[in-house]
Structure formats: structure tokens, C-alpha cells
């Protein structure tokens, strides 16, 4: 697999990651899908191996890798074939812990990041609200400055890990008049008074991850739990979202490939009208079309990863990768399911799960439409239409 982007050391890490996924995660997929969450001891076991901080310095318990290593981990994680597991783990490490590492104080890092990387506490990022959807600037959760800190009031929707998390990184506006420039991030402990899990959402897919609606009812947040600069939240979120998009695109490519591989395996084994399914030209060409679709997403995702890894602005590359991969993985898992016919519709075949899991990719992390808005603006096509 060594090529212009991944070298031998990445391939070696991929082998390790694959083994970890096969041993620690794969055997439990059905159980976690049914239960609706990844158990906390799994976080701890992965944390001991450093897999909750692939990209984080070793001093915090991470593996000291870089974006390429984390990409390898994300891809292998996706190949477990249950997007919810990746969502739960990435919701914790990629979008939950990363802000603590990037903008946390030494004290915050010791208190939250280090146990987080060890898997001793589970993190979640709470941004989206019922009213706002993709419009972060419109968020209504308010952090009123009070003596010694802030008082948090508002609710959050679609919070991955929101039910099980021990700490929440919450985006709230300190000054609504400043719109997106009024947003700050706060580290909120789940056990604090006023933090309420309103409900666990019942989802089409990603069922191994819990998704919550949360309510912050006058939660007192001490000043030392402000994360980074006051009013810095919007920029921080953009950085987190950028990497999230790249990882979503990479994971989508890996999942789509797995779906096609299983469809090919089925097409080779299954006979219809007296010959194997892959004896039908339409089946073969259909699988080629799916492969071409994957390849397009794959190179876009790799480009975004590479540009980001180079340290350049990857906004455009990431938006393209996420937009394309989100639509691709939906088409590809759908096409792969079709190859299985009636069996594709049956629960014992995992393809139905890939297909359900795939459907979120064009919605979560910014919809395809939002990605296109970013491109419209950043490619200089027109003014931002949504605002």
C-alpha cells in the first residue's frame, strides 16, 4: 500500500491498528449496535494502547503521531463496519479531546485531557442546536458572565456520546450581539448541577454510538473551565470541523470499499439463473461504477489529508472531500446492497448496517449543501448565500 502519501511506517501502523480493531472491537459489533453505545471499558483498553490520542504527544498519553497516522487509525476503525463505533471513539478523541489539547491550559490538560486519552473519562462536543442546524453563528445557548465564571443556559441536539460522556465541550455565546464572534467554548462536567440529558435519540444508523439532547439549566461554569480565548470559539470550531470533515471522508471511503468488497464476495458465491451473479455483465459494470465512485472520493480525501498534513489551508479540499464522500458512500452502499437482493435487506447481513450508517455522512459534520456553500465562497464563485 506504500505510495506517494503513505509510507512503510504508516503501513506498519495500519497492521497494528487492524489487529486492535479486530481484537477489541469487531467481535462486539452486534452487541454494541443493540445496546446503543460502546462500553466505557473499551475506551480504557484503547486508551491504554494510546489509540485515543494517535496524534497527541506522548506526554499526554498519545502515540505522538501526526495527521497521517490518525488517518490510518480512522480508516481501520471504519473497516469494523459499524459507523457508530467510529463515531463514539472519534466523538471522544477527534472532536472531544482535540480542543483540550489545542487550546487547553496546562491545568485543563492534566485534569481532562490526560484521563481522556487514557479512556478514563469520555468526552463529547456539544455544538448543534435544534433551531440552528448548520448555522453555528445562530446558536442560542448563552454563557452569561457571572462572578467567578459563567452561567450556561440552553440546549443542544445531536450530541454524539452525549448520554455517556463525563465531560462536555460546549459551545455557547457570551455575547449574542457579536454573532459568531461571540462564541466561546467551555469544559463542562456532566455531574455538575443543571446538566441534564433530556433524551437519547433513536437513530437510523450509527447505533453503537449514543446521541443525546442535552439541557443546560443555569449551569455554573468556573472561569478556569473556559477553553482558550473568550470569543475564540468560532475559530476553534472551524478548525475542529475541518479535521472532522477530512476524517469523515476517509472513513466513508473505507466503509464504501468494505461494502463493495462484500458485494463482490457475494456476487462470486451466489448463483442466479444458473450462473454466478458476477457472470452478469450488469453486475460487473455496476460494481465498476461503484469502484470509480469510491476512487473519486478516495483521491479527494487523500488530497485534503495531504494539504492539511502539509500545514496548508485545507478548507476547500476538505469541503470537496466531505461533499463528495457523503454522497458517494450513500450511492455505493445502496448499490452494494442491491447486489445482495433480498438478502441485502436482511439483518444478518451487515450490508444493511453499512447502508444505514452511510446515510449520515452527507448530513453530519455539515451537510453537502453547507459544503457547497463553503466552496461557493472560498472558490470565489459568489458571496456566501447563507447569511
Amino acid at each position: 500500500m506504500a505510495d506517494w502519501l503513505f509510507h512503510e511506517e504508516h503501513d506498519m501502523f495500519r497492521e497494528t491498528a487492524r489487529r486492535v480493531v479486530a481484537q477489541e472491537l469487531a467481535p462486539h459489533v452486534e452487541e454494541w449496535e443493540r445496546d446503543g453505545f460502546v462500553p466505557k471499558d473499551v475506551f480504557r483498553r484503547l486508551g491504554q494502547g494510546g489509540y485515543l490520542g494517535v496524534r497527541l504527544p506522548e506526554e499526554y498519553g498519545g502515540l505522538g503521531g501526526d495527521a497521517l497516522y490518525e488517518a490510518v487509525w480512522i480508516e481501520e476503525l471504519a473497516k469494523v463496519g459499524a459507523g457508530g463505533i467510529g463515531a463514539a471513539l472519534s466523538g471522544h478523541s477527534t472532536i472531544g479531546l482535540t480542543p483540550l489539547w489545542r487550546w487547553g491550559t496546562p491545568a485543563q490538560r492534566q485534569r481532562y485531557l490526560v484521563p481522556g486519552v487514557r479512556g478514563e473519562l469520555v468526552a463529547a462536543l456539544a455544538v448543534t442546536e435544534a433551531a440552528g442546524g448548520s448555522d453555528v453563528a445562530a446558536l442560542r445557548t448563552v454563557a452569561h458572565p457571572v462572578a467567578g465564571g459563567f452561567r450556561l443556559q440552553g440546549s443542544k441536539l445531536f450530541v454524539t456520546n452525549g448520554v455517556g460522556a463525563d465531560i462536555l465541550v460546549v459551545a455557547a455565546t457570551v455575547d449574542p450581539a457579536r454573532r459568531h464572534r461571540g462564541i466561546s467554548l467551555f469544559i463542562v462536567e456532566k455531574s455538575w448541577p443543571g446538566v441534564k440529558v433530556l433524551r437519547r435519540l433513536d437513530k437510523l444508523g450509527w447505533r453503537s454510538s449514543d446521541t443525546a439532547e442535552l439541557f443546560f439549566d443555569g449551569v455554573e461554569v468556573p472561569a478556569e473551565n473556559l477553553l482558550g480565548e473568550v470569543y475564540g470559539g468560532f475559530g476553534y470550531l472551524m478548525e475542529i470541523f475541518l479535521w472532522e470533515r477530512i476524517t469523515m471522508a476517509l472513513a466513508a471511503v473505507a466503509l464504501a470499499q468494505k461494502a463493495v468488497d462484500e458485494a463482490i464476495g457475494y456476487a462470486r458465491a451466489r448463483r442466479q439463473f444458473g450462473r454466478p451473479l458476477n457472470g452478469f455483465q450488469v453486475t460487473r459494470h455496476g460494481l465498476v461504477d461503484l469502484t470509480a465512485d469510491i476512487e473519486k472520493a478516495r483521491v479527494l480525501a487523500r488530497r485534503a489529508l495531504y494539504v492539511h498534513w502539509l500545514g496548508q489551508d485545507a478548507t476547500v479540499a476538505a469541503a470537496m472531500a466531505k461533499a463528495y464522500a457523503g454522497e458517494m458512500v450513500r450511492r455505493v452502499t445502496d448499490g452494494a446492497l442491491q447486489v445482495l437482493g433480498g438478502n441485502g435487506y436482511m439483518m444478518p447481513y451487515p450490508l444493511q448496517r453499512y447502508w444505514r450508517d452511510a446515510r449520515i455522512v452527507s448530513i453530519g459534520g455539515g451537510t453537502t449543501e453547507v459544503m457547497r456553500e463553503i466552496l461557493v465562497k472560498r472558490l470565489g464563485i459568489a458571496q456566501w448565500m447563507g447569511g
Binding site: 445562530a138 437513530k203 442466479q272 450488469v282 437482493g341 449520515i360
Partner: protein, 384 residues
């Protein structure tokens, strides 16, 4: 409002009646049915009372004597429950497993199976597909051998809607040694007979309908179990499939229209970046395109139904209507999910369920690919 040339004021009235029934007696409880994986059998009797089970059957067998467009109305409106499972189960009962009894059955078979089915007293299922022969009717391996005064049935059938609880099955089995399309016959099989083994199957959608895998282990049925002519089973079942596919197309129209209505209402009400979602041209145009796609499938299905009712129809026309409507409803519901964004992905709205349910339209009653084979054959493309 009458809708020439297809619907009269009478159809409209029936539509309103069904819509009200669905809103009051199905939509509020269908989530429970989905949860437990089956509908309650009571509902069939209730619908029979309301005259919904035999809309296009003649009064002498307990039907309402309506025209085929009454069946279209029923299929469209039932789809507005937001769950495809129960309507599918019902279609099996009224438009798949039973029409061959009416068409090919003896008076005794009609009295014993069709009339109780249309009263909601007996639950019917249809046995065509086999584990090793998804869409390939010619490949059927289930055998019925003459023995004494009756038949001995041996074989398996799968993906059988209503199977876990059905009272009888309209079954296709091989009665002759000629391979392929010849040598198949239909049987009406009571499912409480010794040797009938059912295994419940777990599906990703259509969960308010239950599905089974059957194994027939030397099941002994009487001579009178034979439905229609011996050796004509393939042609009988091909005739049945026409109605099955057409009613599936009609159901797709109802589902798509319902998904469109939900998405359009949502988009009008939802504010983003200080305007309603329909204020974004890409969303507005998408809805316009969805409406156009629905309309194309609608007109194709209606035209086909019009010809079907008059008997001037080919398997190709029906396959086209089924193919087009199945692809359409999948696309429309998928786009509706996209418009709702995260809300489309969670069970607070019926769309995630509909998205799972309508996927079966491209697989059941013959996959897209099988439809294309049928069409290409009638286009004279297949055998040259």
C-alpha cells in the same frame, strides 16, 4: 376534485375515507407495530368491516365491486401511514396471494380461502421465492409429488411476508420434470399441517410486517389443494405478478407524496440563517424536482393501471411502471431525509423509517434488474 380520466368524485370520497381511517387508526399506533415487528390481526377485520379489503373484488366474494382505481387509491393512502410494512402485508392479503384464487380457484377454494381472507379472518401469504432462487421463478426447486389422493410437498420458500402467522399460502411448486418455466403448479396450502416449519426473519425495514422462511418437510395436501391448472403455475404466477407490481407502484406514489409533503412543510417552517429553508434556491428547486419525479411516476402508473384494468397491457409496461416508481420513491424519500438533515436521521420523524421501508421497492416483487430483463425481452433486445 375529479381527476380525469382516472378518478371520479366517488374515488375522491373513498380517498377521504381511507385517509381519515389511516390518520385515526393506523398512524397513531404504527410505531408500536414496528416495534413488535407485526401488525395486530384485528386491524384486518376492522378494515374488512369498513369495506377496505376487497375494493376491487366483486360483491359475490365479499368485495366492494369497485374499479381498479379504487385499489390504487387504497394503496396510495395506506402509504401515508409513514410505514410500508403493514400496507405491504395488506397488499399480500388482497392483491398478491388471493387474486389467483379468484381467477383460477374452484367455488370451494373461493369459499374456503378467498372469502375468509377478504373478511380478515384468514391471513394469506404467497410462496414464490426460494433461498437459492431470488428472482428466478424458472429455477424453483420446491417439489409437489402426487401421492395417493393428494400431493407431498418438499422444499423451502423465503422472504414470505405474513409468513409467521399466515393461515394459508398460495404456493408455487414444481409438479413436472420439465426444467424451466414448464412443470410448475399453484397450491393452496394450510399452514397448520404437519411438516410446515417457519423461521421468522429480521428485516432492516418494513418492520410492521412479519416475514418468514418456510421449510416444507413432506407436507401432505389433498388433491383439491391444486389451484388452477396443473403445469400452468408459471403462467398463473406471472399473471399474479402483474397485479403485485402495479400495486407496489401505486404504493410508491403514496409514500413519495407523503415524504414530499413532510419535507416541504418542514422546509417552509424551518429557519436557517434567518430565512426559511425553502428560501434557499437549491432546496426549493430540489422540491420542484421531487414533485416532477413523483408526477412522472404517477402518470406512468395511472396510465398503466388504466390499461391493466382494460386488459390491454404487457408485462413490459407494468415492469416499467414498477421500475420507475421504485427508483423514484427511493430518490424522493432520500432527498426528503436530506432536507430534514439530522432530523431526517432520527426516529422523531417517519422519514428514517420510510427510507428503510421503500428500499424494498427496488428488491421485492422482482428487483430493478429483473424488471430490466423483462423489459428488454419485450423490447426484442434479449433474444436476437
Amino acid at each position: 376534485m375529479p381527476y380525469p380520466p382516472y378518478f371520479t368524485a366517488e374515488h375522491d370520497l373513498f380517498r377521504q375515507t381511507v385517509r381519515r381511517f389511516v390518520e385515526q387508526e393506523i398512524t397513531p399506533v404504527v410505531a408500536q407495530w414496528e416495534e413488535v415487528g407485526e401488525f395486530p390481526r384485528d386491524i384486518l377485520r376492522r378494515m374488512a368491516e369498513l369495506g377496505f379489503l376487497g375494493v376491487h373484488y366483486p360483491p359475490e366474494v365479499g368485495g366492494q365491486g369497485g374499479d381498479y382505481f379504487m385499489a390504487v387509491v387504497l394503496a396510495e393512502e395506506l402509504a401515508r401511514s409513514g410505514a410500508g410494512g403493514f400496507p405491504m402485508a395488506l397488499a399480500v392479503q388482497t392483491d398478491m396471494a388471493t387474486p389467483p384464487i379468484w381467477r383460477f380457484g374452484t367455488a370451494e377454494q373461493i369459499a374456503r380461502y378467498l372469502i375468509p381472507a377478504l373478511k380478515g379472518e384468514k391471513l394469506a401469504c404467497l410462496g414464490i421465492t426460494e433461498p437459492d432462487h431470488g428472482s428466478d421463478v424458472a429455477g424453483i426447486e420446491t417439489r409437489a409429488r402426487r401421492e395417493g389422493q393428494g400431493w407431498l410437498i418438499q422444499g423451502s420458500k423465503t422472504f414470505i411476508t405474513n409468513g409467521p402467522r399466515a393461515d394459508f399460502m398460495t404456493l408455487v411448486a414444481r409438479t413436472g420434470d420439465t426444467p424451466g418455466y414448464h412443470g410448475l403448479s399453484l397450491f393452496l396450502v394450510d399452514l397448520d399441517l404437519p411438516g410446515v416449519v417457519r423461521t421468522r426473519l429480521d428485516k432492516v425495514g418494513m418492520r410492521s410486517s412479519d416475514t418468514a422462511l418456510f421449510h416444507f418437510d413432506q407436507v401432505r395436501v389433498p388433491q383439491q389443494a391444486l389451484l388452477g391448472e396443473e403445469g400452468q403455475g408459471f403462467y398463473h404466477i406471472m399473471w399474479e405478478l402483474q397485479g403485485e407490481r402495479l400495486i407496489s407502484a401505486a404504493g410508491a406514489l403514496g409514500s413519495a407524496q407523503y415524504a414530499y409533503d413532510i419535507a416541504c412543510d418542514y422546509a417552509k417552517a424551518r429557519k436557517l440563517f434567518d430565512r426559511s429553508l425553502t428560501g434557499f434556491q437549491v432546496i426549493a428547486h430540489l422540491l420542484a424536482e421531487m414533485a416532477t419525479e413523483i408526477e412522472a411516476a404517477r402518470q406512468l402508473t395511472y396510465e398503466t393501471a388504466w390499461n391493466f384494468a382494460r386488459g390491454t397491457i404487457s408485462a413490459k409496461d407494468i415492469a416499467l411502471a414498477k421500475l420507475v416508481s421504485a427508483r423514484m420513491v427511493n430518490w424522493v424519500v432520500d432527498r426528503a431525509v436530506q432536507i430534514l438533515g439530522g432530523h431526517g436521521y432520527v426516529a422523531d420523524w417517519p422519514l428514517e423509517r420510510m427510507w428503510r421501508d421503500v428500499r424494498l421497492n427496488r428488491i421485492g416483487a422482482g428487483t430493478d434488474e429483473i424488471m430490466k430483463e423483462i423489459i428488454s425481452q419485450e423490447m426484442g433486445l434479449r433474444n436476437s
